[in-house]
Structure formats: structure tokens, C-alpha cells
């Protein structure tokens, strides 16, 4: 998962679009083919700014042929000046083909392929992403990159083909800070000499430092054995992408930048990666947040995901709209359930935000019949140099860690977005969590309730993380027997029942509404004859479908 918050605050369409492009290339760099996108959107209101971000996500995802199958959209006044756009991507690859992102083999070539390099996005990571927002944001618009999904699509095809053909030793995408960061990450064990005068440029007169940190989109770097260079260039030529050897792997352990033969920059690469300066941040518990505005009414999200192609790839068994989507791993009948979750509107407690993001993401996957396998996160916070923000960060991480341990599911990747403040006002602590789960047989994914079904409510038996984990285990184990399962979200039980009815073609259930559950809960529907197969514990019947 990756954030593109500051660019989206300044220019929502391109900010959101290039966020999608960036996370796609992260997956491609592993040698995987992307199969699903999800988006977490925290905004002040479903206004014009929000609609532009949605259009930007669609612009990139729809044009690259990767289905956008889920996500979250939360509206809370606290995000008005500092919206959040988090993008998550899931890719597939054979496990014996995981691609290294490190350079190896002195004498191997450093090959840059994809778009040409320009002055767009210079300073994006430093000027924009690592400072607070303020009144002069309009002036920062040139630091937002501009996406070209057509080139992005070709880049995906070329990269997957290069990896499948075994033509490259390793791959890395050019993201924040451009060549400087991708080459530093690749060079952390060997060294790299990069010849900046060889980089194909889209405008004349660029300074070497500009070439080094340009964030021009749709570029990848590969390490290629010299004898493979012709074959690599042939693949790029077929897809009409520029491809240039811009340097070589050395034994020096230095990242050296050369321009027309002169060394214009030199640093031991490890100083930029593993041995970069670290500092301890101060942490002071926050007394209280300003009282959040009253919780917004849940809004129908259909108009959002109907702007995304969620079908391309012919895998989408359970479509977006309810909890998690399910993608079939064709030709197998197994599938993956994917979800993305984060704090509800009005949530201000960092520990609870972290723990509940994990639990809700996992519960959503379980409601779609998936056994949670792995988590990823994106930590969106204010300026960590302020002690109370440092404390929030620590608390949220602790919440995620404790919930993940209770579930016994690993957190395998992640991203941070800090300095989300405008004129000194930080966003609330916003840990966002994605979950991927395994569905053993996509023919038995809970879908919609039917006439005659019993309607059940399953609630975590007590107020503890272990009890919440037990509920999630119950849900994914029961799923193949259920005609429907739906997480009771922030909108409450009545809203969850209405969503289940809407999902079931408008068929409403007769329910005796019990007290609002205060812990994790899910609404289930099942044929009456099957109820005994669920055992006797963990649920109560609250009604039936007429």
C-alpha cells in the first residue's frame, strides 16, 4: 500500500492517478502481474475535490487494465484541508520467481526503460510530501507528477515479459526521489556508477541533480547482464518504449553519478539506506482532540466504484460493494479475498484506530469466505516532530501489532505518510490496513440471502482481541455454509441489514433489532436446515427472510 496524500491535496486528479501508477510499479518490480487495486479515501466531504480524486483513480486504473475492486471512503471534517489517498495493489507470481530489487554482479548494466525524464515532480518527495501544507499550496502544483497510464500499461507488459523470460537480474521502480532513491536501494550491497548524460530527456538543459531526482512517472530500472542487453532492448522496442543502459554495477559500494565523464556526486550507498541517520522522536500522550463533528450519515458508495473497471481480468467473483471482493485464481477454484479498512469518521484514539483497522479488514475478508493470510498498512499522521503526534504513531503501531498477533497474521509490507498538517492542524491518527485472505473454493462464497433464510448475528464473545480473533475465525470457517455474511461497520446494525438487503436485490428481512453490538459483529444468513452445522455458540438468530 502506498499514500499519495499531499499531491492529492494540491491536485486531486493527477495526485490520485499517479498514486495508482506508483503502487502498480511497486508490484511489477517484484516480477508479479498486478490483479487488483483498492483505494482508501479519507476526505472532508464527497465534494468536487473528492470527485476529481475518484476520476483520477479511474483514469489510471481503468486505462491500465487492472481492476479496482474495493476500498474505503470516509468523510470527516478533519480531512478537509488534508485529504488522504492510499492505494493498495495485489499481484500474482509463482513463489519461485520473486524478483530481487538489489544489484548484483559487478560489470552488469543498469538499464532505464519507460518514459523519458523531465522536470516534473522535482522535489515531490521533499518539497511536497515531507512538509506541512499551507497557504502557498497552489505554488506547489508543479511538484505533482503527471501520469501517463498508456505508458504505464506498456511498462507493466514489458516488465512482466522481461521477468518471465529471465532477461533481468533485478528490477526497481523509479518512485519518490527518482533515480536517486531507486539506485541507492539497488546499490546497497554492490556499487553503481550512473552516467546521467545518457538518460533520455524530454527537455533540454536539465542539470545533473535534476536528472537524479526527477520524479517523472512510468520509469523502471533493471540490472541486466551485458549479453542480455540486445534481448531486453528488443522487448522494449516491440512495446515502443525507450530503453537505455545508463550505468553499470561496480564493486565500490559507492553510488556515483557521472556527467560527461566528471564525477558530479558520490556517496556510500548504505548511507542512504540501511545506515541512514536515525533519530528518536519524542512521545507525549495527547490530552484530548477537539470534539469531532457529529458522525456523518453513511452514504451509498455505488457511484464511486461504478466509475472503476472492476471486471477486467475475468477473475472478479465477488464484486465491490460489500466487505471484501473475491478474485478467482483461474484455472484453480481457489480465490483471494481482498479488503482495505481504516478508522471510521470521528475516531480519534490511535490505539483503537490501529487495532480496529486490522480487525475490520480481517473481518471483511472472513465475511467473503477468506482465511486472512497477510496484512499491509499505511500510516497517515501529522508532523512526527511534535511529541503528541509521535505518541499517536507509537500507539497506532502498537494497536496494529497487538491485533495482528491475536489473529496470528503477519504484516508483510507498509508505508508511512507523515506531515499531514495544514496551517498547523494535523489530521486525526489514520492507520489504514489492507488484508488478503485465501478462499478455498470460490463456488461457496457467501453472496446474497434468499427467501426462508434465518438471519443471525455473530458478536465477539467478550471485549478482548482474542475474542475478536475468535469471531473472525468463526466467520471464515462458517462462510461456505452461509448464503450471506456482512460485517457490521461504523453505520451500525440497522444500516448493515439495509446494505445486506440492497445487496440481495432489495429483499428485506424481518428482524427484531437487538441492542447495538459494541464489539466486532457480523450479520449472517443461512438456510434453516443448515443452522445446526454452525454449532451452538457464537451467534443468535435475530430474524428471517420472508
Amino acid at each position: 500500500m502506498e499514500s499519495h496524500n499531499h499531491p492529492s491535496a494540491v491536485e486531486p486528479f493527477q495526485g490520485a492517478a499517479t498514486g495508482v501508477g506508483g503502487i502498480l510499479r511497486d508490484i511489477v518490480a517484484m516480477g508479479a502481474r498486478p490483479v487488483a487495486l483498492l483505494d482508501g479515501l479519507w476526505f472532508g466531504a464527497p465534494d468536487g475535490h473528492f470527485r476529481r480524486a475518484v476520476a483520477g483513480i479511474g483514469h489510471y486504473g481503468n486505462s491500465t487494465g487492472i481492476p479496482t475492486v474495493g476500498g474505503a471512503a470516509v468523510f470527516d471534517e478533519a480531512y478537509r484541508d488534508n485529504c488522504l489517498v492510499n492505494a493498495m495493489c495485489v499481484g500474482l507470481l509463482p513463489s519461485d520467481r520473486v524478483q530481487s530489487a538489489k544489484a548484483s554482479g559487478a560489470g552488469n548494466l543498469v538499464v532505464l526503460f519507460g518514459a523519458t525524464t523531465g522536470r516534473d515532480g522535482i522535489g515531490g518527495a521533499s518539497v511536497l510530501a515531507s512538509q506541512e501544507l499551507g497557504e502557498d499550496d497552489g505554488d506547489k502544483r508543479p511538484t505533482v507528477q503527471v501520469g501517463d497510464p498508456f505508458t504505464g500499461k506498456k511498462l507493466i507488459e514489458v516488465s512482466v515479459e522481461l521477468v518471465e523470460s529471465g532477461l533481468v537480474e533485478s528490477l526497481q521502480d523509479c518512485g519518490a526521489a527518482g533515480l536517486a532513491s531507486s539506485l541507492a536501494e539497488m546499490a546497497s550491497e554492490f556499487g553503481i556508477d550512473v552516467r546521467l548524460d545518457r538518460v533520455p530527456l524530454r527537455e533540454a538543459g536539465m542539470e545533473p541533480w535534476e536528472i537524479m531526482i526527477s520524479e517523472s512517472q512510468e520509469r523502471m530500472v533493471a540490472i541486466v547482464r551485458p549479453q542480455m542487453l540486445d534481448a531486453v532492448q528488443a522487448v522494449c522496442a516491440r512495446w515502443e518504449l525507450p530503453c537505455t543502459a545508463i550505468g553499470e554495477v561496480t564493486k565500490s559500494a559507492l553510488l556515483r553519478a557521472l556527467y560527461e565523464g566528471d564525477v558530479v556526486g558520490e556517496i556510500p550507498a548504505r548511507f542512504l539506506t540501511d545506515e541512514c541517520p536515525r533519530y528518536e522522536i519524542e512521545r507525549t500522550p495527547r490530552d484530548e482532540w477537539p470534539q469531532p463533528s457529529p458522525r456523518a450519515e453513511p452514504v451509498d458508495k455505488r457511484w464511486i466504484f461504478e466509475q472503476y473497471d472492476y471486471l477486467v481480468g475475468s477473475r472478479t467473483v465477488r464484486r465491490p460493494g460489500l466487505d471484501a471482493a473475491v478474485l478467482r485464481l483461474r484455472p484453480s477454484l481457489r480465490g483471494v479475498a481482498v479488503s482495505l479498512n481504516g478508522p471510521a469518521a470521528g475516531e480519534r484514539d490511535p490505539f483503537r484506530a490501529g487495532a480496529s483497522a486490522v480487525l475490520r479488514a480481517a473481518r471483511n475478508v472472513a465475511c467473503a469466505g477468506g482465511e486472512p493470510l497477510a496484512l499491509t498498512d499505511c500510516l497517515n499522521f501529522g508532523n512526527p516532530e511534535k511529541p503528541e503526534i509521535g505518541w499517536e504513531l507509537e500507539q497506532a503501531i502498537e494497536g496494529i501489532a497487538q491485533a495482528a498477533e491475536a489473529l496470528r497474521v503477519p504484516v508483510v509490507s507498509g508505508n508511512v505518510s507523515l506531515y499531514n498538517e495544514t496551517d498547523g492542524r494535523p489530521i486525526p491518527p489514520t492507520p489504514v490496513v489492507g488484508c488478503v485472505g485465501l478462499v478455498p473454493d470460490v463456488r461457496f462464497v457467501p453472496s446474497r440471502w434468499r427467501s426462508g433464510d434465518a438471519v443471525l448475528l455473530a458478536v465477539a464473545p467478550e471485549d478482548s482481541l482474542a475474542a475478536e480473533a475468535a469471531l473472525i475465525r468463526f466467520l471464515w470457517k462458517a462462510a461456505p455454509l452461509l448464503s450471506l455474511a456482512h460485517d457490521v461497520g461504523a453505520g451500525g446494525l440497522a444500516h448493515a441489514l439495509a446494505e445486506a438487503a440492497g445487496w440481495s436485490g432489495g429483499l428485506e428481512a424481518d428482524v427484531d433489532l437487538p441492542d447495538e453490538p459494541r464489539r466486532g459483529a457480523a450479520v449472517l444468513a443461512i438456510a434453516p436446515s443448515q443452522v445446526t452445522r454452525l454449532g451452538s455458540k457464537g451467534f443468535v438468530q435475530i430474524g428471517q427472510v420472508p
Binding site: N62, F150, K153, K154, Q307, Y308, Y310, V312, V317
Partner: protein, 226 residues
Amino acid sequence: MASPQPRIGVVTFPGSLDDRDMLWALAALDAEAVPVWHAEEQLPDLDAVVLPGGFSYGDYLRCGAIARLSPVMNAVAAFAADGGLVLGVCNGFQILCEAGLLPGALRANESLTYVCRDVRLTVERTDTPFTARCGPGQTLVMPVKHGEGCYIRPDHLPQEQVVLRYGEPVNGSVDDIAGVVNEHRNVMGLMPHPEHAVDPLLGSADGAFVLASLVDSARSRALAIA
């Protein structure tokens, strides 16, 4: 006699997105699905050609305006002029209109936003190579997913060239037209995606009525030549 597997080509332009899904769907319906690259100036030996959905060449200009100039389109036009079967889906429909192989044009949806959802369609004609498996007036459910699917017909488009109509408002198309054929009925374009509706696990299998009709028609042409 043995029933041969018809060979149906699926053209991949840079920016095509549904080409893999179309190859898979045609193979599932017992055709030999043959990938065709946009830079080819001649088609291999084929019984039908499909132009799939996507954003050919990025479609930063009018959709299909660049793809129609690609080398393979000369060969597709010649194939159609010889009576060969050509089906264009979504971006393929847009390309066929731009190339003048189908009447009319497609412009931005009335809502000005991309739309992806299942829609109901009414089959207006069953006497085409693309709808022979359908019943007259049959309702089909298939997904649409496009930003520029509002069909504008020429002033005097004969009724018999309208093959599919939307059963509900979708994109502002004139007369709710969702799919048309050319005068000789060997070229068809439609905005809905039959290749995304050939497996009930994925929502609907109604698209198979269209694609299986194409496979049938291609097979009888293969037999006639044999």
C-alpha cells in the same frame, strides 16, 4: 464430418486491455483463439477477427482515432470487404466506427463519467452471424465499462442494422442503441462486454450467446471453405 475448430483472431493494440479475457472466452467456447499483433500488415489464416476493449494507444485523442491508422487495420478492412466476420467490443466498436467499417460514432457518456455495471439488453435481430443463438426479443445481461459509449447514429440508419438496444438508460445513446451491424451484416460493434459474461461464477453467462454465435458462424465458414 468432423467439425473443425474455427480460428478467430484477437487483435492486441498497445493499450488493449480485454484481449486476454477475449482469447480465454473464445477458447472456452471451443474456438482456436489466435493473438494478432497490431503491427502485422497481413492477417494469418482466420475465420473471424475480434477487436477487443481497452484504450488503444492511450486514446488521449478521440477513442479509436489512432488505432484505425495502425498497420493491422488495413488488413482488417480488406478482410471485412471480402465478407469476413469482424466483431468489435467497446474500444473495438469505437475503432470500427472510426475506420468507417460501421456507421455512426461514439462520444462521451451523457454523465461525462466512466460507467461500469451490468445492464439489460434487448436482442433486436437474430438473423446476424453474431446473434443467431439468441431468441427474438431476448433479454441479455452483460456488463458495460466505458467513458465514451454514447452512440450517435447517422440520420438514415436502417432499422435492420440495429442489433442490440439497452433496456435502461446507460450512456445517452440515441434510441438506446447498444450494438449495430454494417449493411452486409458481417461486421458488428457493441459497447457491452460479452467476454466478461461467459461464466456464471463471474456474474452472467449471457455474453456466450453472442460469442458462441460468432464461433458457430466462423465454424460454418471454415466448413464451407474446406
